[in-house]
Symmetry: C2
Subunit: 190 residues, 2 copies
Protein backbone atom coordinates (compact mmCIF):
# COMPACT_ATOMS: atom_id res chain seq x y z
CA UNK A 1 0.00 0.00 0.00
CA UNK A 2 1.38 3.40 -1.00
CA UNK A 3 2.15 5.85 1.80
CA UNK A 4 -0.02 9.00 1.70
CA UNK A 5 2.93 11.12 2.85
CA UNK A 6 5.06 9.96 -0.07
CA UNK A 7 2.30 10.96 -2.47
CA UNK A 8 2.25 14.40 -0.81
CA UNK A 9 6.03 14.68 -1.14
CA UNK A 10 5.82 13.80 -4.84
CA UNK A 11 3.16 16.47 -5.43
CA UNK A 12 5.14 19.12 -3.58
CA UNK A 13 8.32 18.19 -5.43
CA UNK A 14 6.46 18.32 -8.76
CA UNK A 15 5.05 21.81 -8.09
CA UNK A 16 8.53 23.02 -7.14
CA UNK A 17 10.34 21.40 -10.10
CA UNK A 18 7.74 22.24 -12.76
CA UNK A 19 7.61 25.83 -11.52
CA UNK A 20 11.37 26.31 -11.35
CA UNK A 21 12.53 24.22 -14.34
CA UNK A 22 9.50 23.63 -16.57
CA UNK A 23 7.60 20.50 -17.54
CA UNK A 24 9.77 18.98 -20.29
CA UNK A 25 12.99 19.68 -18.40
CA UNK A 26 11.69 17.81 -15.33
CA UNK A 27 11.90 14.03 -15.45
CA UNK A 28 10.19 11.55 -13.15
CA UNK A 29 13.59 10.86 -11.59
CA UNK A 30 14.08 14.56 -10.80
CA UNK A 31 10.78 14.47 -8.93
CA UNK A 32 11.46 11.26 -7.02
CA UNK A 33 14.99 12.48 -6.16
CA UNK A 34 13.60 15.79 -4.87
CA UNK A 35 11.01 13.86 -2.84
CA UNK A 36 13.66 11.49 -1.47
CA UNK A 37 11.84 8.51 -2.96
CA UNK A 38 13.01 5.59 -5.13
CA UNK A 39 12.09 6.12 -8.80
CA UNK A 40 10.05 2.92 -8.91
CA UNK A 41 7.74 4.22 -6.15
CA UNK A 42 6.43 6.94 -8.47
CA UNK A 43 4.11 4.60 -10.33
CA UNK A 44 2.48 3.41 -7.10
CA UNK A 45 1.01 6.92 -6.89
CA UNK A 46 0.69 8.31 -10.42
CA UNK A 47 0.16 6.67 -13.78
CA UNK A 48 2.44 9.16 -15.51
CA UNK A 49 4.17 12.54 -15.25
CA UNK A 50 1.13 13.91 -17.08
CA UNK A 51 -1.21 12.59 -14.36
CA UNK A 52 0.98 14.17 -11.67
CA UNK A 53 1.01 17.48 -13.58
CA UNK A 54 -2.79 17.62 -13.34
CA UNK A 55 -2.65 17.20 -9.55
CA UNK A 56 0.23 19.71 -9.34
CA UNK A 57 -1.86 22.27 -11.25
CA UNK A 58 -4.70 21.85 -8.74
CA UNK A 59 -2.27 22.22 -5.85
CA UNK A 60 -0.67 25.33 -7.30
CA UNK A 61 -4.11 26.80 -8.12
CA UNK A 62 -5.17 26.35 -4.50
CA UNK A 63 -2.24 28.58 -3.45
CA UNK A 64 -3.40 31.53 -5.62
CA UNK A 65 -5.67 32.97 -2.88
CA UNK A 66 -8.72 33.38 -5.08
CA UNK A 67 -10.70 33.87 -1.86
CA UNK A 68 -9.20 37.39 -1.69
CA UNK A 69 -11.43 38.25 -4.66
CA UNK A 70 -14.65 37.51 -2.78
CA UNK A 71 -13.69 38.99 0.62
CA UNK A 72 -16.77 41.10 1.39
CA UNK A 73 -14.88 43.05 4.08
CA UNK A 74 -12.88 44.79 1.31
CA UNK A 75 -14.29 47.07 -1.43
CA UNK A 76 -14.45 45.18 -4.76
CA UNK A 77 -11.78 47.10 -6.66
CA UNK A 78 -9.42 46.99 -3.67
CA UNK A 79 -9.85 43.20 -3.63
CA UNK A 80 -8.67 43.03 -7.22
CA UNK A 81 -5.71 45.29 -6.54
CA UNK A 82 -4.65 43.41 -3.40
CA UNK A 83 -4.92 40.09 -5.21
CA UNK A 84 -2.51 41.21 -7.93
CA UNK A 85 -0.25 42.83 -5.33
CA UNK A 86 -0.08 39.45 -3.59
CA UNK A 87 0.87 37.75 -6.86
CA UNK A 88 3.40 40.49 -7.66
CA UNK A 89 5.05 40.25 -4.23
CA UNK A 90 5.46 36.51 -4.68
CA UNK A 91 7.32 37.14 -7.94
CA UNK A 92 9.46 39.88 -6.35
CA UNK A 93 10.44 37.37 -3.65
CA UNK A 94 11.61 35.03 -6.43
CA UNK A 95 13.88 37.75 -7.85
CA UNK A 96 11.94 38.04 -11.14
CA UNK A 97 12.39 34.35 -11.90
CA UNK A 98 9.45 31.97 -12.38
CA UNK A 99 6.18 32.80 -14.03
CA UNK A 100 2.68 31.60 -13.29
CA UNK A 101 2.99 27.79 -13.19
CA UNK A 102 -0.40 27.44 -14.92
CA UNK A 103 0.65 29.70 -17.79
CA UNK A 104 4.05 28.03 -18.04
CA UNK A 105 2.51 24.57 -18.34
CA UNK A 106 -0.02 25.93 -20.86
CA UNK A 107 2.85 27.15 -23.03
CA UNK A 108 4.75 23.90 -22.88
CA UNK A 109 2.04 21.26 -22.80
CA UNK A 110 -1.42 22.53 -23.90
CA UNK A 111 -0.75 21.73 -27.56
CA UNK A 112 0.48 18.22 -26.76
CA UNK A 113 -1.72 16.77 -24.00
CA UNK A 114 -5.49 17.10 -23.96
CA UNK A 115 -5.82 16.16 -20.23
CA UNK A 116 -3.22 18.78 -19.23
CA UNK A 117 -4.83 21.39 -21.51
CA UNK A 118 -8.20 20.69 -19.84
CA UNK A 119 -6.66 21.06 -16.35
CA UNK A 120 -5.02 24.38 -17.31
CA UNK A 121 -8.33 25.54 -18.76
CA UNK A 122 -10.13 24.64 -15.53
CA UNK A 123 -7.58 26.52 -13.48
CA UNK A 124 -7.83 29.68 -15.59
CA UNK A 125 -11.63 29.43 -15.65
CA UNK A 126 -11.87 29.37 -11.84
CA UNK A 127 -9.58 32.39 -11.65
CA UNK A 128 -11.38 34.30 -14.41
CA UNK A 129 -14.77 33.65 -12.80
CA UNK A 130 -13.60 34.92 -9.40
CA UNK A 131 -12.07 37.99 -11.03
CA UNK A 132 -15.22 38.63 -13.11
CA UNK A 133 -17.34 38.46 -9.97
CA UNK A 134 -15.17 41.07 -8.19
CA UNK A 135 -15.18 43.34 -11.26
CA UNK A 136 -18.97 43.00 -11.62
CA UNK A 137 -19.27 43.90 -7.92
CA UNK A 138 -17.10 46.96 -8.59
CA UNK A 139 -19.36 47.89 -11.50
CA UNK A 140 -22.44 47.58 -9.30
CA UNK A 141 -20.85 49.70 -6.57
CA UNK A 142 -19.99 52.36 -9.16
CA UNK A 143 -16.18 51.97 -8.86
CA UNK A 144 -15.84 50.70 -12.45
CA UNK A 145 -17.72 51.79 -15.58
CA UNK A 146 -20.33 49.40 -16.94
CA UNK A 147 -19.36 50.26 -20.53
CA UNK A 148 -17.61 46.88 -20.90
CA UNK A 149 -18.84 43.51 -19.70
CA UNK A 150 -17.25 42.36 -16.41
CA UNK A 151 -16.33 38.95 -17.87
CA UNK A 152 -14.58 40.58 -20.85
CA UNK A 153 -12.60 42.84 -18.53
CA UNK A 154 -11.69 39.89 -16.29
CA UNK A 155 -10.48 37.82 -19.23
CA UNK A 156 -8.44 40.74 -20.53
CA UNK A 157 -6.84 41.53 -17.15
CA UNK A 158 -6.00 37.88 -16.44
CA UNK A 159 -4.32 37.52 -19.82
CA UNK A 160 -2.44 40.80 -19.34
CA UNK A 161 -1.14 39.46 -16.04
CA UNK A 162 0.13 36.25 -17.64
CA UNK A 163 2.05 38.33 -20.17
CA UNK A 164 3.49 40.52 -17.43
CA UNK A 165 5.08 37.45 -15.85
CA UNK A 166 6.78 36.66 -19.17
CA UNK A 167 8.12 40.22 -19.27
CA UNK A 168 9.42 40.34 -15.69
CA UNK A 169 11.54 37.22 -16.12
CA UNK A 170 12.78 38.51 -19.50
CA UNK A 171 13.54 42.03 -18.28
CA UNK A 172 14.56 41.04 -14.73
CA UNK A 173 12.74 44.15 -13.63
CA UNK A 174 9.60 45.33 -11.85
CA UNK A 175 8.73 47.72 -14.69
CA UNK A 176 6.20 45.33 -16.29
CA UNK A 177 4.34 45.26 -12.95
CA UNK A 178 4.34 49.05 -12.89
CA UNK A 179 2.81 49.36 -16.37
CA UNK A 180 0.22 46.71 -15.42
CA UNK A 181 -0.91 48.51 -12.26
CA UNK A 182 -0.82 51.93 -13.98
CA UNK A 183 -2.94 50.87 -16.94
CA UNK A 184 -5.26 48.35 -15.25
CA UNK A 185 -6.19 50.60 -12.32
CA UNK A 186 -5.72 53.92 -14.14
CA UNK A 187 -7.45 53.14 -17.44
CA UNK A 188 -9.07 49.68 -17.75
CA UNK A 189 -10.90 49.39 -14.41
CA UNK A 190 -12.27 52.91 -14.20
CA UNK B 1 33.72 23.92 -45.24
CA UNK B 2 30.11 24.05 -44.01
CA UNK B 3 27.42 24.61 -46.64
CA UNK B 4 25.49 27.87 -46.20
CA UNK B 5 22.28 26.15 -47.35
CA UNK B 6 22.58 23.51 -44.62
CA UNK B 7 22.93 26.26 -42.02
CA UNK B 8 19.75 27.83 -43.40
CA UNK B 9 17.94 24.50 -43.24
CA UNK B 10 18.99 24.06 -39.62
CA UNK B 11 17.71 27.53 -38.71
CA UNK B 12 14.39 26.96 -40.46
CA UNK B 13 13.99 23.56 -38.82
CA UNK B 14 14.81 25.05 -35.41
CA UNK B 15 12.20 27.82 -35.76
CA UNK B 16 9.61 25.24 -36.77
CA UNK B 17 10.45 22.71 -34.03
CA UNK B 18 10.92 25.22 -31.20
CA UNK B 19 7.64 26.90 -32.15
CA UNK B 20 5.63 23.69 -32.48
CA UNK B 21 7.19 21.58 -29.70
CA UNK B 22 9.08 23.91 -27.38
CA UNK B 23 12.76 24.27 -26.55
CA UNK B 24 13.38 21.49 -24.03
CA UNK B 25 11.31 18.98 -26.02
CA UNK B 26 13.41 19.62 -29.15
CA UNK B 27 16.75 17.86 -29.32
CA UNK B 28 19.61 18.56 -31.70
CA UNK B 29 18.75 15.30 -33.46
CA UNK B 30 15.15 16.44 -34.01
CA UNK B 31 16.51 19.54 -35.73
CA UNK B 32 19.06 17.73 -37.90
CA UNK B 33 16.44 15.09 -38.81
CA UNK B 34 13.96 17.82 -39.80
CA UNK B 35 16.69 19.52 -41.84
CA UNK B 36 17.66 16.23 -43.50
CA UNK B 37 21.20 16.55 -42.15
CA UNK B 38 23.47 14.12 -40.27
CA UNK B 39 23.54 14.90 -36.54
CA UNK B 40 27.31 15.43 -36.57
CA UNK B 41 26.96 18.26 -39.09
CA UNK B 42 25.14 20.41 -36.53
CA UNK B 43 28.33 21.42 -34.74
CA UNK B 44 29.92 22.64 -37.95
CA UNK B 45 27.36 25.43 -37.83
CA UNK B 46 26.38 26.04 -34.21
CA UNK B 47 28.26 25.61 -30.95
CA UNK B 48 25.11 24.43 -29.15
CA UNK B 49 21.32 24.28 -29.25
CA UNK B 50 21.42 27.48 -27.19
CA UNK B 51 23.47 29.25 -29.89
CA UNK B 52 20.99 28.12 -32.54
CA UNK B 53 18.07 29.31 -30.40
CA UNK B 54 19.50 32.83 -30.46
CA UNK B 55 19.66 32.81 -34.27
CA UNK B 56 16.16 31.25 -34.43
CA UNK B 57 14.80 34.06 -32.24
CA UNK B 58 16.26 36.65 -34.64
CA UNK B 59 14.77 34.80 -37.61
CA UNK B 60 11.34 34.53 -36.00
CA UNK B 61 11.48 38.19 -34.92
CA UNK B 62 12.15 39.25 -38.52
CA UNK B 63 8.85 37.57 -39.53
CA UNK B 64 6.77 39.69 -37.08
CA UNK B 65 6.27 42.55 -39.61
CA UNK B 66 7.27 45.33 -37.24
CA UNK B 67 7.48 47.56 -40.32
CA UNK B 68 3.66 47.66 -40.31
CA UNK B 69 3.94 49.82 -37.18
CA UNK B 70 5.88 52.59 -38.96
CA UNK B 71 3.97 52.57 -42.28
CA UNK B 72 3.30 56.29 -42.76
CA UNK B 73 0.61 55.59 -45.38
CA UNK B 74 -1.68 54.28 -42.60
CA UNK B 75 -3.02 56.30 -39.63
CA UNK B 76 -1.08 55.42 -36.44
CA UNK B 77 -3.85 53.67 -34.53
CA UNK B 78 -4.88 51.68 -37.62
CA UNK B 79 -1.25 50.50 -37.93
CA UNK B 80 -1.42 49.10 -34.41
CA UNK B 81 -4.74 47.41 -35.07
CA UNK B 82 -3.62 45.89 -38.39
CA UNK B 83 -0.40 44.63 -36.80
CA UNK B 84 -2.30 42.71 -34.13
CA UNK B 85 -4.83 41.51 -36.71
CA UNK B 86 -1.92 40.07 -38.71
CA UNK B 87 -0.62 38.28 -35.62
CA UNK B 88 -4.11 37.06 -34.74
CA UNK B 89 -4.75 35.72 -38.24
CA UNK B 90 -1.50 33.77 -38.09
CA UNK B 91 -2.69 32.09 -34.90
CA UNK B 92 -6.14 31.40 -36.37
CA UNK B 93 -4.40 29.67 -39.29
CA UNK B 94 -2.62 27.45 -36.74
CA UNK B 95 -5.98 26.40 -35.24
CA UNK B 96 -5.27 28.04 -31.85
CA UNK B 97 -2.08 26.07 -31.39
CA UNK B 98 1.34 27.70 -30.93
CA UNK B 99 2.02 30.90 -29.09
CA UNK B 100 4.54 33.63 -29.75
CA UNK B 101 7.85 31.78 -30.13
CA UNK B 102 9.66 34.60 -28.28
CA UNK B 103 7.32 34.38 -25.31
CA UNK B 104 7.43 30.58 -25.34
CA UNK B 105 11.22 30.53 -25.21
CA UNK B 106 11.16 33.21 -22.50
CA UNK B 107 8.96 30.95 -20.38
CA UNK B 108 11.12 27.89 -20.86
CA UNK B 109 14.64 29.27 -21.00
CA UNK B 110 14.97 32.85 -19.65
CA UNK B 111 15.59 31.65 -16.08
CA UNK B 112 18.22 29.14 -17.20
CA UNK B 113 20.33 30.74 -19.95
CA UNK B 114 21.60 34.30 -19.81
CA UNK B 115 22.41 34.48 -23.57
CA UNK B 116 18.90 33.28 -24.49
CA UNK B 117 17.32 35.65 -21.95
CA UNK B 118 19.27 38.53 -23.51
CA UNK B 119 18.13 37.55 -27.03
CA UNK B 120 14.48 37.37 -25.91
CA UNK B 121 14.89 40.73 -24.20
CA UNK B 122 16.29 42.24 -27.41
CA UNK B 123 13.41 40.85 -29.44
CA UNK B 124 10.75 42.22 -27.09
CA UNK B 125 12.56 45.57 -26.87
CA UNK B 126 12.53 46.03 -30.66
CA UNK B 127 8.83 45.23 -30.74
CA UNK B 128 7.98 47.44 -27.75
CA UNK B 129 9.91 50.36 -29.25
CA UNK B 130 8.10 50.08 -32.60
CA UNK B 131 4.75 49.84 -30.83
CA UNK B 132 5.58 52.79 -28.56
CA UNK B 133 6.46 54.88 -31.61
CA UNK B 134 3.12 54.12 -33.29
CA UNK B 135 1.20 54.83 -30.06
CA UNK B 136 3.09 58.12 -29.56
CA UNK B 137 2.24 59.05 -33.16
CA UNK B 138 -1.42 58.27 -32.37
CA UNK B 139 -1.18 60.50 -29.30
CA UNK B 140 0.28 63.34 -31.37
CA UNK B 141 -2.44 62.96 -34.01
CA UNK B 142 -5.09 63.09 -31.26
CA UNK B 143 -6.33 59.49 -31.76
CA UNK B 144 -5.14 58.40 -28.30
CA UNK B 145 -5.21 60.33 -25.01
CA UNK B 146 -1.88 61.60 -23.71
CA UNK B 147 -2.91 60.82 -20.12
CA UNK B 148 -0.55 57.80 -20.09
CA UNK B 149 2.97 57.62 -21.45
CA UNK B 150 3.19 55.95 -24.90
CA UNK B 151 5.98 53.61 -23.74
CA UNK B 152 3.92 52.47 -20.73
CA UNK B 153 0.92 51.77 -22.98
CA UNK B 154 3.13 49.89 -25.47
CA UNK B 155 4.64 47.73 -22.74
CA UNK B 156 1.19 46.98 -21.34
CA UNK B 157 -0.35 46.10 -24.72
CA UNK B 158 2.58 43.88 -25.73
CA UNK B 159 2.38 41.96 -22.46
CA UNK B 160 -1.40 41.64 -22.79
CA UNK B 161 -0.88 40.14 -26.25
CA UNK B 162 1.58 37.56 -24.95
CA UNK B 163 -0.99 36.49 -22.37
CA UNK B 164 -3.71 36.28 -25.00
CA UNK B 165 -1.65 33.68 -26.87
CA UNK B 166 -1.48 31.58 -23.70
CA UNK B 167 -5.28 31.81 -23.41
CA UNK B 168 -6.09 30.94 -27.03
CA UNK B 169 -4.12 27.70 -26.92
CA UNK B 170 -5.65 26.86 -23.52
CA UNK B 171 -9.22 27.71 -24.51
CA UNK B 172 -8.93 26.63 -28.18
CA UNK B 173 -11.05 29.65 -28.96
CA UNK B 174 -10.88 33.12 -30.49
CA UNK B 175 -12.56 34.70 -27.45
CA UNK B 176 -9.27 35.88 -25.90
CA UNK B 177 -8.58 37.78 -29.14
CA UNK B 178 -12.04 39.37 -28.94
CA UNK B 179 -11.52 40.62 -25.38
CA UNK B 180 -8.07 41.94 -26.40
CA UNK B 181 -9.39 43.95 -29.36
CA UNK B 182 -12.45 45.15 -27.40
CA UNK B 183 -10.46 46.42 -24.42
CA UNK B 184 -7.28 47.62 -26.18
CA UNK B 185 -9.08 49.60 -28.88
CA UNK B 186 -12.22 50.42 -26.86
CA UNK B 187 -10.61 51.40 -23.55
CA UNK B 188 -6.80 51.44 -23.41
CA UNK B 189 -5.93 53.23 -26.67
CA UNK B 190 -8.56 55.94 -26.57
Amino acid sequence: MARASLRESLIEAAVERFHAHGYAATGVKDITDAAGAPKGSFYNHFASKEALAIVALERYGASRRLEMLSDASVAPLARVRRHFEFLRDENLDAGFTRGCMVGDIAVEVADHSEPVRAAVHQSFTSWRDALAQAISDAQRSGEVSKAQDGATLASFVLNAWEGVLIATRTDRSAKPFESFFTVVFGVVLR
